[in-house]
Amino acid sequence: MVLGTYKQITLARSTDKQIQKISQDGGIATGLLSFALDEKIIDGAVVAGPSDEMWKPMPTVALTSDEILAAAGTKYTLSPNMWMLKQAVRQYGLEKVGIVTIPCQTMGLRKMQSYPFGVRFMADKIALDIGIFCTENFPFESLRTFISAKAGVDFDLVEKMDIGKGKFWVHTQDDLISFPIKETHGYEQNGCKVCLDLVSEMSDVSTGSIGAPDDWSAVMVRTESGDTAFKQAVDAGVIETKTIDEGKFGLEMLTKLATSKKEKAMKVIDERKAMGLPVPYKASSEKEDPLANV
């Protein structure tokens, strides 16, 4: 159960050429949200949109497919998307909100829905949550520092960043530079070290590149609402699917990385507990499944 509960796991990609061109991998977040908007499954979406500064995302309420498209592609730094939910519901008056969340944000979202202590009339307005796979996240200055130091590239010239095959990849117009992902250790934000969730276990639909070949994404469909939206998108031909490889570069890889994130986090959680530091999760000795996200 290191991948959480799901109804379906598959490879998928957006069939739209424009999305394929600019999206990170299979363009599932972009394609599915666009489709959901067209089909009125959602009436707007909170996404990590562009800001004034290159590579610094700004949580944005997207009301059109163009605005969703403008937010395509992974930014390896913090975009507090949960923050923008309030604007989506209060300022924009959205009744059916789509949102893209990394696992920690998915957890904040679901906790708010189950226990909406101070959050009025919002829990029932979340129509579709697309969870993104996440190994760790970087503060903006961390990202800028290691890109310029390790890749030796001016930050403004970077056209795409990517993590895969154990490396951090930096694309510029002329070059493709890479360095081992290990070299980014020490730059990641510390809060990620206790995180037990690689695959957004509580989202409606999870997606990410791990376990998928180039230009495809692995997708896990988890909830009823996720299932309905994803099936509709596939039926409409907006998203195409193919069976995920069970082997070393497919499901096995995804399982391995999810397990390893959990094992590392449990070590940190146990150490923190021993030091008397607070941590919201149970120690290994306190739970049946030592890798469960509890």
């Binding site: 903006f140 809060g191 995180c195 607070p278």
Partner: protein, 263 residues
């Protein structure tokens, strides 16, 4: 009835399940004795009970079929406080107001469970800023969360608590669903709250991940996110504690969430 409320709250993972079981739930709800509830109004703005009344769809059946309101200003025509299953206390308690203190003490004596309802009762909230010297009672200066004076069984922070959390809590109380209430039982001890908790208990403790849930939940918009961390505007903070309570890194109800999602 209970099924209808659960459906309204989205608490049923699969609302389309057979009608038979729905009727069974309804039957159990009808057979269970209605909890006797008292409403004690201390130093609060009435916002909490207004939030309760914002459960428009279910308010009438809630008040008539599911609970007995046996005591409370404007809610029941009763002078002497009766024995109660549950006392909802709104507002902090003023140490210069002997009537408030007496009423609170009496509620503790006569109620099986005392609930700090809303942030004023739970954490002191906005009344924490009081320094007295104001009309109509210039000597009323010191306001504290009710847990400073009596044992509190359960706290529902919020300024005000959302209509949904109130309805969910009532359903949990009627069902004896202690798992759902556990976080509120734990929060009874959280009496010193403020936006600075995010800095002290989350950021300083290497737990913040910059998700933005705190800033989303802040009811006075005292929080912004700057470089992926909460930034507090102290002038706007009312010390309700909601930011810390909603933070996914303060406490983590994984089992309940999975149940609610049907996962």
């Amino acid at each position: 009835m209970l099924a209808r409320i659960k459906e309204f709250l989205g608490m049923e993972a699969k609302p389309t399940e057979e009608v038979a079981s729905e009727q069974e739930v309804e039957k159990v709800a009808e057979e269970k004795p209605k909890p006797r509830i008292g409403y004690i109004h201390l130093s609060g703005c009435t916002g909490d009970v207004m939030s309760l009344s914002e459960n428009y769809d279910i308010l009438a059946p809630l008040l008539t079929e599911m609970v007995d309101v046996v005591y409370g200003q404007t809610l029941a025509d009763v002078w002497d406080m009766p024995e109660m299953d549950l006392a909802l206390v709104e507002g902090s308690v003023c140490l210069q107001d002997e009537h408030s203190i007496k009423e609170l003490m009496e509620a503790r004596e006569k109620a099986g469970l005392v609930v700090a309802f809303g942030s004023c009762a739970a954490t002191g909230c906005f009344t924490r800023y009081s320094r007295g010297g104001q009309q109509a009672q210039p000597n009323h200066e010191s306001f504290v969360p009710i847990a400073d004076l009596v044992k509190v069984d359960c706290a529902i922070p919020g300024c005000p608590p959302s209509p949904e959390i109130i309805a969910k809590t009532v359903v949990a109380v009627i069902n004896g669903d202690m798992d759902y209430l556990q976080p509120m039982i734990d929060l009874a001890g959280y009496t010193e709250a403020g936006g600075s908790d995010l800095q002290n208990k989350v950021v300083n403790q290497a737990l913040c991940i910059g998700c933005g849930t705190c800033a989303m939940s802040c009811q006075t918009r005292a929080l912004d996110m700057t470089n992926g961390r909460p930034e507090l505007n102290e002038d706007r903070c009312v010390k309700c504690g909601v930011c810390y309570v909603q933070c996914p890194r303060s406490w983590w109800p994984a089992d309940r969430i999975n149940m609610d999602l049907g996962l």
